[in-house]
Every structure is written in structure tokens, then in C-alpha cells.
């Protein structure tokens, strides 16, 4: 009896993600492509905890608060916990967020995180560029999207340095569909916003760089923007990485994706 029950629980858990780690849409009201031909896909970068740690330490000076060993231990522990959910089939990268309590998320993204992405990207790709196309200030632009669980990440950052895993697995979801999907997932899955998405590129600047195909655009869906139907995102352009704002109007595109984050 216990064995049957265990089997049933496992079946429910594995159904959240498909064999490639894409989060399976759960009868959503918002727009999403039920199936994917995986034309726009992220390729798993090689995970090297030491190099990733160095990149974070270079921009955030975290050595006093988190050792490399602790980073690797906490990150690997996340993967162990998630091993039977299917999400580990998705591309995933470990991230570090320093302890912080920002009064304005947009201001912090502008002043700290985008500059850190630029520094990290330039260090890995001196011949290419990180281009911020957004010409106006992000101050006051963002609030946490209701239902996204992104508040848990912001709260965790207030408590101390955060180690998490970032999974760009909500492929071909509209922004509202990504938020809606969260309510169908276990509690540990949070929708990525600005800090965590930027951190993914700080730790792995090559996350969207592909020579043989196109990677999807990644929305910061855990954050609501002042203007309805507008969002901010990271996107590759050739061998460059870009940050920009665009209208999405709750539409879906094969090229658009959002990301999940699991805290460790």
C-alpha cells in the first residue's frame, strides 16, 4: 500500500515537467503553447562552481558571506531535492544574490545588477557587448507580480545571501501564463524576476549565446511593470546580450520564455 502511494506521488511530481525539463502547461486561462517543437532553446552551459563563484565575487564581493564550498554544497543540495521532479532535465544554472533590502527594485536593477551583468559579460566576451537598450530609468517601474511567489526570493535576500538555481523552463508561455502556472506548482518553485534573471547572466554570461541556433528571450515575469502589458527582458542579438523593454500584451510567442527559481 505504501509502495503504491509512493508511486502515485512520484507520478504527480514528474508530470510538472516534460522529458526536456519544459514546464508542462496546466490547463491555463492565459496564452501558452501546449506543445513545443523546441526551435528556440537554451543550451546547458557547463557548470563550473569555482568560475561561477568568482564571477559573483568579482561584482558582489561575497567572499566574507559565502565560501565557494558553501555555494557548491547549497546549490547541489537544491538539485538533489529536485531530482525526482523532472526540472533537472531543464537547463539550469546556480546563482548567488547578496544580502540586500532594496526600497526600489528597479533602481537596484539599474544601479547594481545591470552593471554587474555588463562587467561579467565583458569579462567573458571582450569582443562582444552587453547592450542595455532601455533608455529611461527603471526606478519605480516594478512591483512583485501577485501569485508569482517572487516575494519569497525578495524576503530571502533580506535575511542573508541567497543561493538558488535558475531554470529557464517556462518556454513558450505568455507572461500572464507564467504567473498562472506558478499556482499549479509545488511551493518551492518561484517565478524569476529581475535580480535572479540578471544573476543568471552574471554567473553564466553565455547562457543565451548560441552559434548553431537561437535561444529564447527571457522575461522578468515575476515583476509587474507600471504600464500594463509591458515587460523587461534579456535577449541575445547575435553574439551580444541585450536588455530591453517591449510590449507583450499578454500574447504568446514561440520565442518567449520565463524562468523558475528554487532557493537553497
Amino acid at each position: 500500500m505504501n509502495g503504491l502511494l509512493k508511486g502515485k506521488i512520484k507520478m504527480v511530481k514528474t508530470a510538472y515537467f516534460d522529458q526536456y525539463g519544459r514546464c508542462i502547461p496546466e490547463a491555463l486561462m492565459a496564452k501558452v503553447y501546449e506543445q513545443s517543437r523546441r526551435y528556440f532553446s537554451v543550451v546547458q552551459p557547463k557548470i563550473n562552481y569555482a568560475e561561477t563563484y568568482q564571477r559573483f565575487d568579482r561584482v558582489f564581493d561575497i567572499a566574507n558571506d559565502l565560501s565557494l564550498q558553501e555555494f557548491e554544497r547549497r546549490a547541489e543540495a537544491i538539485l538533489n531535492v529536485l531530482s525526482d521532479t523532472g526540472i533537472t532535465q531543464s537547463v539550469g544554472v546556480p546563482i548567488i544574490l547578496p544580502k540586500a533590502d532594496y526600497s526600489d527594485i528597479g533602481q537596484a536593477i539599474d544601479d547594481i545588477y545591470l552593471k554587474a551583468v555588463q562587467q561579467s559579460f565583458n569579462a567573458m566576451f571582450p569582443d562582444y557587448s552587453f547592450v542595455n537598450h532601455n533608455s529611461s530609468s527603471l526606478a519605480g517601474q516594478f512591483s512583485i507580480a501577485s501569485g508569482s511567489r517572487h516575494d519569497k526570493l525578495i524576503d530571502a535576500m533580506k535575511e542573508g545571501v541567497v543561493v538558488a538555481y535558475f531554470f529557464p523552463c517556462l518556454l513558450e508561455y505568455s507572461v500572464p501564463a507564467a504567473i498562472e502556472q506558478i499556482s499549479h506548482l509545488p511551493e518551492q518553485f518561484l517565478l524569476a524576476g529581475g535580480f535572479d534573471t540578471a544573476a543568471a547572466f552574471i554567473g553564466n554570461p553565455d547562457l543565451l549565446v548560441r552559434k548553431d541556433g537561437y535561444a529564447p528571450l527571457l522575461w522578468m515575469s515575476g515583476l509587474n511593470v507600471e504600464t500594463e502589458g509591458v515587460g523587461y527582458h534579456f535577449e541575445s542579438y547575435g553574439y551580444d546580450l541585450t536588455f530591453n523593454r517591449r510590449v507583450h500584451l499578454a500574447k504568446v510567442a514561440e520565442y518567449w520564455a520565463s524562468s523558475l527559481v528554487v532557493l537553497g
Binding site: 528556440f40 533608455s135 542579438y237 547575435g238
Partner: protein, 371 residues
């Protein structure tokens, strides 16, 4: 209010783009205002495609890579042994198209073909479009574009000339165009266009591997030194290029070109411009009206999204935008890079005599990305 919107939208422009916009504003304020509103329209989720008008396919060239060759009478009659028996668009259709486009806030027409400068009724077509309401561009091989013709084009309201130049090497250009002497005529046309005060855009077709060549970089440099943009169109597996699949580029070609954009005045249809980052511009940024009134979502896709003689332009554009291949944002060229769509397009158009395939035969209401 309109001025405030325009100031905000102009802030997204490069200094060169802003200078051109201001020049137009003094000459054709109505057209300039419509162009300035495009960003606002896009922010509302509306589209503002350039309308390419192919009223006639008559041409004095027979180029290796021509996307319109299969639409030409010479191909239908000599190769396929059929006649063009579909109803053709007339001046009244063009006036009505212009009116509907204006009503929707659309602002740009490109007269193409075929070769527009062999059209006997070119002046009448320009008047039917109405250059006071629309920014009118002429797409030409330059053979007939001398000083007098350039001045005449300016006089009748053309704003910009798009001139084909396929290589900076004279022999290569002439070979690709199958027309000895055409390179020299292009050089003459460049000077004539600039001297007449027309805006100029050079256009070239990029084939696989060409982006690596010294000659291509020289072509980029030539355009930049002239102070004009070089519009690069990828060779697509359609039209005359159907027989040259080896011309179709790979992502690496596109990416190297994206890097060249940083150093030269070179761009593709997917390069961000005037503050807009559209990616593939099917329907969103361009449509083509064929001589039979069919509207295709791109000059290289031989599937119609509706016929302007049979249904309103607004409905046709909506039908196109609702198609999963065409409406959603994507960064790559659908017909130039997506193998699945290229296969569908090749299979459906194989053996077809009259292109484009009408709505329901090429694109359909039931199209899916995953079927």
C-alpha cells in the same frame, strides 16, 4: 499632444534618423507625423507594415536570385506554358489601398516589381498612392536612373530610392545580375539619386559564406563612406533561388552580419531601427501586394494572407497576425532560416503555376507550429 508624443518617439532615434525625420517634417508634416506615431502604435499592439506594391513584373534584368521571377509573364509563358489569367490590380485598387492604409495609420509604400522604371504608368501609380499621405520608396536596379530620371522622381513625390548592388566587384555584380554594364549604371544611379536630393538606400543579397569575404566588407565600407545605408537581404530558397539551396545562409552568417552592424552602416530587415525591435517583420513590418491583389507577409513567402480586391486590408492584416508563423515576435528570418517553415513552403509551392498560393492553400486558419 501629438507634438509631445513625437518628441518622446524621436528620443528613440539615432541622430541620423532624427535629422531625416526633421527634414521630412518640414516638407511633408502629415507623413512625418504618421511615421513618428509608429512607435506609439506598436506600444498599443498595432502594426504599421511597409506596403510593397508589385503592380507589374516587367523587368529588363533576369537576376540569379530574383524572388519575383516566378511571378513574371516570361516565366509563366516560356517555362510553365500558362497565362496569367487572374484579375490584375488597377489604379482604383491602388487608390483604395492607399486610403485604407492611411486610415490605419500606415505610412510607407515601396514601388517594386519587376523594375518600376520600365512601367509606363509609374507616375500614375505614385499619384494613386499619394505622396502627400505616404512615404514613397522606389526599388530599382538603377539601369534607367540617370540625372533626369532622378530629378523627375523627386518631382513626383518619391522620397527614397532603394538601389540594388550585389558586389563591390564590377564583374561579380554584373554576373549575379546577368547584365553586363549594370554595375556602371548603379554607380551612375547613386550619384544621380544623391544629386537630386533623394534619400538613398543600397540593397544587396547575401548568400551563404559571403559575409566572410573581404569583398563583402568592402561593400559595407563603400556604403558607409557614401553616407548611405546598405540593406542586406538574405538569399531565400524561393523564386529563382529555389534552384540554389546552397545560397541559403546559416545562423553564423546572420550573427557575423549583426556584428558588422556595429562598424558599418549595414542592416537587415531584422535590425532594430527607429527604436523598434521587431525581429522578423512578416506582416508586422512589411507586406507585399502582388499584381493579382494577393497580400503576402514577406517578399519571399509565396503564401497569401488575403486578397485586397476581395476583403479589407485591416481584415487581411489581422488574419496574418493571427497566424502562428507570422504574428508572434521572433528574432530570426522565417523563410530564410527556419528549416521547418522552409520545408513546408517548398513542398506547397512545388508545381504551383500561379503564385502566391491563395489563403487556405498556403497559410490556413488551422496552421500550427508543431503539426
Amino acid at each position: 499632444m501629438t507634438n509631445e508624443i513625437n518628441i518622446v518617439n524621436d528620443s528613440l532615434l539615432t541622430p541620423e534618423e532624427a535629422e531625416k525625420r526633421n527634414g521630412l517634417r518640414t516638407r511633408k508634416p502629415y507623413v512625418a507625423e504618421k511615421l513618428a506615431n509608429i512607435q506609439t502604435m506598436e506600444d498599443r499592439g498595432e502594426i504599421s507594415p511597409i506596403i510593397r506594391l508589385e503592380k507589374s513584373y516587367l523587368c529588363n534584368f533576369q537576376c540569379t536570385h530574383c524572388s519575383a521571377e516566378y511571378y513574371m509573364d516570361r516565366h509563366l509563358e516560356k517555362v510553365l506554358h500558362v497565362k496569367e489569367d487572374r484579375e490584375q490590380i488597377d489604379m482604383e485598387d491602388i487608390r483604395e489601398l492607399s486610403r485604407q492604409a492611411d486610415e490605419m495609420g500606415l505610412a510607407r509604400f515601396v514601388i517594386t516589381g519587376g523594375e518600376p522604371l520600365v512601367m509606363r504608368d509609374l507616375d500614375e501609380v505614385v499619384a494613386a498612392i499619394d505622396p502627400e499621405k505616404h512615404y514613397v520608396i522606389l526599388d530599382t536596379n538603377g539601369w534607367f536612373l540617370d540625372d533626369n530620371k532622378a530629378k523627375h522622381l523627386k518631382l513626383i513625390g518619391i522620397e527614397k530610392v532603394q538601389l540594388s548592388l550585389d558586389s563591390i566587384i564590377e564583374e561579380d555584380h554584373d554576373d549575379f545580375r546577368n547584365k553586363p554594364g549594370s554595375y556602371k549604371r548603379v554607380m551612375r544611379a547613386i550619384d544621380a539619386t544623391l544629386d537630386a536630393g533623394l534619400n538613398l538606400l543600397l540593397s544587396t543579397v547575401l548568400i551563404k559564406g559571403q559575409v566572410h569575404t573581404k569583398e563583402f566588407v568592402e561593400l559595407c565600407k563603400f556604403a558607409t563612406d557614401k553616407g548611405v545605408g546598405l540593406y542586406v537581404s538574405y538569399a531565400k530558397p524561393t523564386g529563382s533561388c529555389t534552384d540554389h539551396p546552397e545560397f541559403v545562409i546559416e545562423k553564423e552568417d546572420a550573427d557575423i552580419l549583426r556584428q558588422l552592424e556595429k562598424d558599418y552602416s549595414v542592416f537587415t530587415h531584422m535590425t532594430p531601427s527607429y527604436g523598434s525591435h521587431k525581429g522578423c517583420i512578416t506582416v508586422k513590418g512589411i507586406i507585399t501586394v502582388t499584381s493579382s491583389g494577393e497580400i503576402t507577409p514577406c517578399p519571399y513567402i509565396d503564401f497569401s494572407i488575403g486578397n485586397v480586391k476581395k476583403m479589407p486590408l485591416k481584415y487581411i492584416l489581422s488574419q496574418g497576425m493571427n497566424n502562428p508563423w507570422l504574428g508572434p515576435h521572433r528574432p530570426d528570418c522565417l523563410i530564410g532560416e527556419d528549416p521547418k517553415f522552409i520545408k513546408i513552403h517548398t513542398e506547397k509551392t512545388a508545381g504551383a503555376t500561379h503564385l502566391p498560393l491563395p489563403w487556405g492553400e498556403g497559410f490556413t486558419e488551422n496552421d500550427s507550429l508543431t503539426d
